[in-house]
Structure formats: structure tokens, C-alpha cells
């Protein structure tokens, strides 16, 4: 009996060992096959253009055999999450479409691969891309030919408006009677405020509507991205163009103070109640639900809005950021695509960038909902007519300005978020005090960064 049991046991163990060996051998034999199916992970924000990129990526997989995997994170946690990944030298992302302001930190900390040699080898010239995007997304130090990214998603802030409301004869007539001019997309911020006041609280199709939607978000970058559109037009400068980091008298100049006061006045007079912490998505919701006459938002969302069944098509119009007393500018959005320095798939990632830079790919990128920065696409004769917002996009990209792209940008940004939100939304202090405090905050940050800061 004992012998029989032992025999059965031995057979069972033998069978199990054989099975294990077989599985192990299959796995070992299968290794070359597994190695052949290469994969790249691309990290970006979760928004409409990211879906277009997934579509576009299928062509890359077809051409190269490299599978594309994506890591998309909502905008409100996009910077936190990916800067954390980069800071900790994580290998999650092989390719990253990082925000324009990260470029300084990414270059100085060697998070990104420097692309100059690669561009030279593959004959990719930065002269083929719109200058604002090269300066904003690729160069560090700024205005030097040191490239850390390929311009991937050109973007800036523009405006949408309810074309159908603007064109109603009774509204037109009432507006003309009140302001002595035709109701049309505003050319200046004063005009924009008048139109917003005109629509504020008005009843249209039995529903109460509001004048304008502007950014007020506190946590990440929202209110800064909104307020700078007005500040630039009113004469705000980040520092003395002749003496870098001299901010006193530029950040808090009388013109900048007027700009900040204007933004607050616009917020107080003409926005929907409750939008005290609102950014891109809240703007889209407000516009799509027919709540506002005009909306400030990034061009990246305009293809989706144009397709919207309720407010898109003939009902929507687009205009560029209006001018102010000291000029016409717009806040740059958008990102460049970079190769993460610690990636184990650097060659494949570079292969993706080479593929992405091709004019045919860039053309398709624009057609399916992305925004190309390649001159061959945006300067083609048919481009202005290729989408109803294309002319405004093209015009905007000639007068964009961007926030600091220093390695300490996060501190600079959060300081501005706090000071501006305190003044605009929380009614704390005056515009002058808010900007004076901002100069104080920024001076401290730059000093910590080892910069020589001119106080006067």
C-alpha cells in the first residue's frame, strides 16, 4: 500500500515538474517573440487632442511595428503627476508632451534628451516650425539654439462667441441703440466688456444668460492663464527687457495694475455666479449649456466645440484675444514632445519623433483635431479655410507670450495664482498690493535659484 502511494506521489510530482519545465521552456523560447513586440509609453494630458493623437499613433504602429501605450492625466493634476514622475526618474514615460513652462527645469535637471544632434542627423530643422512654438516649447535657455522638444501641439488662448445670438436682429438693434455701434466680435477689451455687460442677465429663449466666461481656477494655473491675456495687453512685463529679473516697475507697473483691475471688473460684472474656481472644462460646460455669450478658452477645444450639436456649426463664432491699451497679445498654450532621458527605449522614442515631424503626419495631425506647428501645414494656402477657427489661430500665434519657463516655474506660478486669486475673487487688498506682493514673492524665488535680482 505504502509503495503504491509513494509511486502515485512520485508520478504526480514528476508530472508537475514536467509541466513546470515545459511552461518554463515555452516562456524562454517565447522571449525573442516578446522582444519583437516593442512598446512605447507616451504621457500627456487627458483632453480632446489626446484622442486625436491616439488615432494618429495607429499609423506609427503600422509603419514601425512599435505599439503605442498612453498615459493621459486630467489637466488639474497633469503637472503634479508628471513632474513627480520626472523628478523621481521614473521610467513610466518614454515620450512626454510636457507643458511649455517645464522646459527650463527639464533641461537643467536633464529630464529630457537634448535633441540637437538628433535633429541635425535626421535633417529636422527648427526653422520649419512657427517661431513662437520653437521659442515656447523647445528652447532652453530661451533664444538659444538648444532644443529639448519638438513642437507638438501649437496652442494659445482665443475666444468663442454665440454667433446665433449676435446675429439676431432684435439683439443687434438693441445693442446699436445702446452703444451706437454694431454688435460684432470685439476688437478691444473695452468692447468685450460692453458686450458682456449687454448680455449679462439677459433672457434668451426663455433662459437667463451671462456675458463672458473667464478663468478663475485657484489650484493649478487657471487664473494666471486667464489674467495674463489682459495683463499683456495693458503693458505687463515679466521683467525689464534690458535687465533680466528686474521685476520692480514691470510686473507691478501702473499699466499692469490697470490690467488686473480690468480683469476683476470683468469677473465681477459679467460672469455666471459660482464660477469662482473654474478652468477649461467649466468654460466648455458653460458654453455648451448655452449659459454664456462669450468664452475664453484654448484653441485646442475649438474643433470639439465646432462639432457640438447644440452650440456648434453656425451657432458658434471665434475671435482672437482682443487688444488692450498697450497692444494685443495672447497667452501661449501648447506643448512640445520630448524623449525622457531615463527611458530604456530612447531609440524607438526618437524614431517616433522623426515620424511625427514628417509633413504628411503633421498635416493629418491638424486634420484630425491636433494643432500642427509646422510651417508647411499652417502656411499652406488652403490652411485658413481648412477650419472656421484656423485664421484666428494663425493670427494668434503671431502675438503669443508665455509665462516664466524657469526651473522654479512652479513656485512662480503658484505665487501668482495666490496673489491674483486673492485680489480678483477673494477681494483681498488692491491690485497694486497684489502685484507688489507678487514682485516680493518672485524676487525671493529667483534669489533662492541663485539669480541676481535687481530690486530697483
Amino acid at each position: 500500500m505504502r509503495n503504491t502511494k509513494t509511486g502515485t506521489w512520485s508520478k504526480s510530482v514528476g508530472a508537475a515538474l514536467a509541466l513546470f519545465t515545459g511552461v518554463a521552456l515555452t516562456a524562454v523560447a517565447g522571449q525573442p517573440a516578446a522582444a519583437q513586440s516593442k512598446q512605447l509609453t507616451l504621457c500627456w494630458a487627458a483632453w480632446d487632442p489626446a484622442n486625436a493623437l491616439v488615432e494618429l499613433g495607429k499609423d506609427f504602429t503600422k509603419a514601425s511595428g512599435i505599439e503605442m501605450k498612453y498615459e493621459f492625466v486630467p489637466w488639474t493634476s497633469y503637472a503634479d503627476r508628471f513632474l513627480n514622475e520626472l523628478n523621481s526618474h521614473s521610467k513610466l514615460c518614454d515620450l512626454i508632451i510636457g507643458d511649455s513652462q517645464w522646459i527650463g527645469g527639464a533641461a537643467e535637471n536633464h529630464w529630457y534628451v537634448k535633441l540637437n544632434d538628433f535633429f541635425a542627423k535626421e535633417h529636422i530643422s527648427m526653422d520649419d516650425f512657427m517661431p513662437a512654438t520653437v521659442l515656447g516649447y523647445s528652447e532652453w535657455p530661451k533664444n538659444t539654439p538648444n532644443y529639448w522638444a519638438l513642437p507638438a501641439m501649437a496652442d494659445a488662448i482665443g475666444w468663442t462667441y454665440r454667433k446665433d445670438w449676435f446675429s439676431r436682429p432684435e439683439i443687434q438693434a438693441e445693442f446699436k441703440k445702446k452703444y451706437g455701434r454694431d454688435l460684432a466680435p470685439p476688437k478691444t477689451y473695452e468692447e468685450l466688456k460692453q458686450i458682456a455687460e449687454f448680455f449679462q442677465g439677459r433672457e434668451i429663449d426663455g433662459k437667463k444668460v451671462y456675458g463672458a466666461y473667464i478663468y478663475t481656477e485657484r489650484g493649478s494655473e487657471g487664473i494666471t492663464m486667464g489674467v495674463t491675456n489682459v495683463l499683456y495687453d495693458y503693458g505687463f512685463e515679466y521683467d525689464n527687457p534690458k535687465k533680466p529679473y528686474q521685476m520692480q516697475g514691470f510686473v507691478n507697473s501702473p499699466d499692469a495694475v490697470k490690467g488686473l483691475e480690468f480683469y476683476k471688473a470683468l469677473y465681477k460684472c459679467c460672469t455666471a455666479p459660482g464660477l469662482t474656481n473654474a478652468y477649461m472644462q467649466e468654460g466648455l460646460d458653460a458654453f455648451k449649456s448655452g449659459q454664456v455669450a462669450m468664452q475664453m478658452n484654448f484653441f485646442a477645444f475649438f474643433p470639439g466645440l465646432y462639432k457640438d450639436p447644440n452650440v456648434g456649426g453656425d451657432k458658434i463664432g471665434f475671435f482672437v484675444n482682443p487688444a488692450g491699451p498697450k497692444g494685443q497679445f495672447s497667452q501661449l498654450g501648447g506643448q512640445g514632445i520630448s524623449v525622457v532621458a531615463v527611458s530604456d527605449h530612447r531609440d524607438d522614442a526618437l524614431r517616433y519623433i522623426k515620424w511625427f515631424a514628417q509633413p504628411a503626419v503633421q498635416q493629418k495631425w491638424w486634420q484630425i483635431g491636433g494643432y500642427s506647428a509646422l510651417k508647411a501645414v499652417v502656411e499652406a494656402p488652403g490652411f485658413p479655410k481648412s477650419a472656421p477657427f484656423a485664421p484666428q489661430f494663425l493670427q494668434t500665434m503671431t502675438f503669443v507670450k508665455d509665462f516664466w519657463a524657469e526651473p522654479s516655474y512652479a513656485q512662480l506660478l503658484l505665487d501668482m495664482q495666490k496673489r491674483v486669486h486673492d485680489y480678483v475673487v477673494a477681494d483681498k487688498g488692491t491690485a497694486q498690493q497684489a502685484l507688489d506682493l507678487l514682485v516680493k514673492d518672485w524676487t525671493k524665488v529667483f534669489k533662492e535659484q541663485g539669480k541676481e535680482v535687481m530690486v530697483q
Binding site: 503637472a79 503634479d80 513632474l83 513627480n84 523628478n87 527645469g105 537643467e108 535637471n109 536633464h110 481656477e217 485657484r218 489650484g219 455666471a272 455666479p273 459660482g274 464660477l275 469662482t276 474656481n277 526651473p407 522654479s408 516655474y409 512652479a410 513656485q411 503658484l414 495666490k418 486669486h421 486673492d422 485680489y423 475673487v425 477673494a426 477681494d427 483681498k428 533662492e448 535659484q449 541663485g450
Partner: protein
């Protein structure tokens, strides 16, 4: 020590037969540990006995607690010491390429002389005091009601406890919707009672109202927790004390002040301690409801800390702030626990 001594789990009549399994299920002693010991083969027991022979009780105790201490050192003590070290440096992870400088007490001086930090601390203190006060009053009141054990008291207990079982993330998100001035029902309810137009005020967006929104939500969520602790306290009071009071013709009011409150006091104080520590650490709900806004009106100190540590990447500065907060909570809790012990000894 003899082998007889190291195997106390063996029953007196059992002989030690190598290889024999102690499989008897009947007549096993009651304690689970003893049952496990008896099920262990004798050989194994002897082997263990061989290895532990000569070890004192103290050594065996150390053997048991060493893994826990090692774990504690690795995940609590070492990071704490490391953080203390970092708090004296200029480390900023977004500028890790800069040389690390020892800055002495600069970070501490910066924090303690920063008006904004004091504002945030005051805001946190106001939040803690108002929420804990409201929660204790409401929680104790509810506990007194539930303790009457009326017919449907179990049902109401469950209903009252529901908010406490939700995740703060869920609570934050749905109260954001409830407070929405255009579509949220909260403003409509206020309008019903006051006649104020629903979309004429924004609970989350107005400086005067925003702090109350978080107080209200936190009280709604955590008053049931205080109720639960108080209920345990009330049910621990022996009935005979009340019966004696009845015999002495003490009024209900007198019974409350002389029996109920003093005897439930240690439980109340414990609830205050738990809620105060929790609310001092408050982050998630405020972050979801207001993000600290409007401006910095509802920015509790932990939001400041999170922004400094993980958004501005000021590692040295935020380590110093964390140490200051730790010392504050630890010190205050220690003083409070001493007071609590005095109350319990009364």
C-alpha cells in the same frame, strides 16, 4: 529548562512520542493558542524547544517585537530623522541640480516670520475649534436621543451613521454640486426659508460663506462619529446610579449635570481629541470643495504644506513646516491626554 517545561501545551497525561501527531480534537483546552500548540507535531515542538532553550522570557519577547520595531524604524523613525535633516537644507526638488546647502534655521525662521503662514494657522485653528465644538454638541445631543432606545432607534442610528461611512472624496464632490448656485439644491433650500434668490449667492465662492461650507460639511460627516463615542459612554453608565438618583428625587436636569455629563466626560474628551487631531490634518475635503479658495480664505495649513512640498517642490522648507506642525500637534495632544487622565481619575 527541561523539555517538559518548554512544552506546557502538552496535557499532563500525554507521553512524548516522537513522530506522533497530537491530533486529538476532543478534550482540547479552550484557548485557541493552546489548541494550535496541541495540533503542532511533537517533533516540531521539541525542535522549537531545542532552539529556544536557554533563552530568557525577555529574549523571547525581543524576538517577537524585533520585526515590528524594524518596520517602525524603516517607515516611521528613519523618514522622520531624514526629514529633520532636510529641514535644515535648501533642497528644492525642481532645482535638484543646484548644490545642496545647509541653511541652519533659515527655513524655520522663514516660516515663523511669514504672515501668510500665521494666517493659515489661524484659519486652521478657527476651522478645528468650530467643527469640533459643533460636532461635540450635535454628536452628544444625538447620542442622548438615541440612548433613549425608542422603537426605531436602530434604524435612525444607521441613517445617522451613513455620512461617516462615505469617502471624503465622494463627500467633497457631491457637496460641491449641492452648493452650486445655479443647479445645486442647497441655495434653493436657503431661498425657501429666507426668500433670498438662489443664484444671488455662492457658498463656495464668497469669502464670508466659504469657511462655513467646509465647517458644515465636516460637521455633517463627522458628528455621527462623536455620537458613536458618546453613545458608548452613555451606555457604560450603570443604571443603578440613575435609580439611586430617582430615589433621591433628583430632577432629570440634575441627573444630567451630576451623573450623565461627568461620567460621559472621558468619552467626550476622547472624541474631542480624535476629531481635533483629524481636523488639524484636514486636507482632502477642503481641497475638493474649495481648493483653499476663494483666494486663500479656506487654505488650511495642510494645503499650504502640500503646495510647498509637492507643487513648489520646496523640500527643505516643507520639511521644516511639517516638523513645526508635528511638534504642535504632538505637544497639544500630550497636554490634552494628561488632562484627560486627570478627568478619568476623578
Amino acid at each position: 529548562m527541561s523539555s517538559q517545561e518548554v512544552s506546557p501545551a502538552l496535557s499532563a497525561g500525554e507521553t512524548r512520542q516522537p513522530g506522533r501527531m497530537a491530533m486529538t480534537a476532543v478534550n482540547l483546552p479552550g484557548a485557541p493558542i493552546e489548541r494550535i500548540a496541541l495540533r503542532t507535531p511533537v517533533q516540531t515542538r521539541l525542535r522549537i524547544a531545542k532552539y529556544t532553550r536557554g533563552l530568557s522570557d525577555r529574549s523571547i519577547a525581543w524576538l517577537f517585537i524585533t520585526p515590528t520595531i524594524a518596520l517602525l524604524l524603516a517607515i516611521n523613525i528613519f523618514p522622520l530623522i531624514w526629514m529633520i535633516r532636510l529641514s535644515f537644507t535648501s533642497l528644492n526638488l525642481s532645482m535638484a541640480y543646484l548644490p545642496l546647502r545647509f541653511v541652519g534655521l533659515d527655513n524655520y525662521t522663514d516660516i515663523l516670520t511669514d504672515e501668510d503662514v500665521w494666517d493659515r494657522l489661524q484659519m486652521t485653528a478657527r476651522f478645528v475649534i468650530s467643527t469640533v465644538t459643533l460636532q461635540v454638541v450635535i454628536g452628544f445631543g444625538l447620542a442622548l436621543l438615541i440612548n433613549r432606545q425608542f422603537r426605531t432607534h436602530s434604524f435612525w442610528t444607521t441613517i445617522i451613521l451613513l455620512p461617516m461611512m462615505l469617502s471624503p472624496a465622494v463627500v467633497g464632490n457631491f457637496w460641491t454640486l449641492l452648493y452650486q448656485p445655479q443647479i445645486g439644491p442647497f441655495n434653493y433650500v436657503v431661498s425657501l426659508f429666507t426668500g433670498i434668490a438662489p443664484n444671488s449667492f455662492s457658498m463656495i465662492g464668497e469669502v464670508a460663506l466659504a469657511p462655513w461650507t467646509i465647517v458644515l460639511v465636516d460637521t455633517w460627516m463627522w458628528a455621527p462619529y462623536v455620537m458613536l463615542i458618546c453613545l458608548a459612554g452613555l451606555r457604560s453608565i450603570p443604571d443603578y446610579i440613575y435609580e439611586a438618583a430617582e430615589v433621591d428625587r433628583a430632577s432629570s436636569w440634575r441627573q444630567f449635570w451630576s451623573i450623565t455629563l461627568p461620567m460621559a466626560m472621558p468619552f467626550l474628551m476622547l472624541a474631542v481629541l480624535f476629531r481635533a487631531i483629524e481636523n488639524f490634518k484636514m486636507f482632502d475635503m477642503v481641497n475638493l470643495l474649495t481648493s483653499g479658495g476663494p483666494g486663500s480664505t479656506t487654505e488650511v495649513i495642510n494645503i499650504t504644506l502640500k503646495r510647498a512640498a509637492f507643487e513648489k517642490w520646496q523640500t527643505g522648507y516643507s520639511s521644516a513646516l511639517a516638523i513645526i506642525l508635528f511638534v504642535t500637534v504632538f505637544g497639544a495632544a500630550n497636554i490634552y491626554v494628561k488632562a484627560l487622565n486627570r478627568v478619568k481619575q476623578r
